[in-house]
Symmetry: C2
């Protein structure tokens, strides 16, 4: 099911200008939102991320249209849970890189199934040869220029892992191909700062808050690629929520019982039961 040009459609196709810059130059943004029990989870946070991302690219988010797309899809969803992806491009422009003076953004959204089995799954990571480019503002938003993540993910799959460990150009941990990363050691729950090439994901923010609530000390700081002995690693994103990392490049990673408390906190917030 998709939303395009004012309404929900059961056909998966949309009509675009061949000069739509989202299609020709990846000139656009997106956001993935979980819908739990027919309620979009942390919707305001996701809308704020879209606003920020549009600002980085230099156009205004047509927020009312985005909100309507989400509301229309939620009203039409067949199941209790779903995943919605909203895409906003800068719209059409003439040939070349220069954006049009008065952009008219294109908005569309897709609804996909989501089941509780997608969340909280342990994952194995493989370190990618592709570094995350923290010199680019795109490292801090969800832009349509997502192909490096696709290639890093393919590399990880080829290596027999579930996702990639992506370092930045300075050699520090940035993220996985699709999730934020945290390192838990002692009472410190550390995650790389945005300046290290990190998108401030909605679940990342929640985990930083929940961590303080269970007596951990959340901190944003650069993280070296090899986890120290005794450190646990977790990955967070909006659909998988919180995934304990069980191995990096084939080497087992320590597990920490306190991760279960973070999982419990997220389950309660999401209304997914304990």
């Amino acid at each position: 099911m998709i939303w395009f040009d004012g309404r929900v459609r059961h056909s998966p196709t949309l009509t675009l200008d061949a000069g739509d810059r989202g299609l020709t130059l990846a000139d656009g943004i997106f956001e993935t939102i979980a819908v739990f029990g027919r309620v979009p989870f942390r919707l305001d946070d996701h809308l704020a991320r879209l606003e920020d991302a549009a600002q980085v690219l230099g156009f205004s988010l047509p927020r009312a249209i985005v909100e309507r797309a989400i509301a229309d899809l939620v009203a039409a969803m067949p199941d209790e849970h779903a995943a919605i992806r909203v895409t906003v491009t800068r719209g059409s422009g003439p040939r070349g890189l220069a954006p049009p003076a008065g952009p008219r953004p294109t908005v569309f959204a897709t609804l996909s199934p989501w089941s509780p089995s997608m969340a909280f799954q342990p994952i194995r990571l493989a370190t990618s040869t592709i570094r995350r480019n923290e010199t680019s503002p795109l490292s801090r938003i969800k832009s349509l220029a997502y192909l490096d993540n696709v290639l890093a993910f393919q590399e990880a799959k080829t290596a027999g892992a579930d996702d990639a460990l992506v370092l930045n150009t300075a050699g520090n941990v940035a993220s996985t191909a699709m999730a934020n990363l945290f390192q838990l050691q002692g009472d410190e729950l550390a995650t790389p700062p945005v300046a290290d090439g990190v998108r401030p994901g909605v679940t990342r923010e929640l985990v930083l808050v929940l961590a303080a609530g269970i007596g951990l000390r959340p901190v944003e700081r650069s993280i070296a690629p090899a986890p120290p002995a005794g450190a646990a690693l977790i990955a967070t994103n909006s659909l998988r929520l919180l995934c304990p990392v069980i191995a990096v490049d084939g080497k087992p990673v320590d597990q920490d019982a306190r991760v279960a408390e973070l999982v419990l906190g997220l389950r309660r917030m999401a209304g997914l039961g304990a």
Copy 2:
């Protein structure tokens, strides 16, 4: 004028699956081809670039369809000269990063006007804060993940320049936002190697050959960002052909009379007259 789904169309719109990975993940490639006197210039070289780029992404180029799109547009073009952009995406896929097992690429192409006044124009560059990520295979192909170039170009325009000087993460010269770069000093015409985050552009290759023909010594080597005294800089791409750089960050760059010989060589090859 566009070519889509088997034929030339005068309407600029195309119908796509909302899950087309070119649109959702920049999972695709493109190539820009000049048509001079109704003949695509260096077509085989451009097709080879597309083949290489598809191979980097891991899908097969539907070459016959691409060739037909170009031939159909050339047959329908209203003027002597034109610019054709061919876009090939990996086609549709399910939600998420994993590519479909049997991709069915989407092909479309657009025809735009080209006039001789677009070529051989002097340009001013401004150094971008965004580095080119030479750790990514995408730095070496024309993928749809082109948004860093858009942002670097916007930065340059804001700085009052015509294009960006883009360095790689090691701090060496990579390219402009849309062109390859060369440094001419003494008898050496140097351009950064592909490993420095450079796409081996068609015009770049021609200039390397033409340079040898006029007694210069073409070489691929890393280039430091500040041109040494007496060095000239030139930028090359398929539509602008060869552009002398007249300033970097507001500082004038030396000019070299031998650049006119390279321009003459390109004019002759392109059939644009001397």
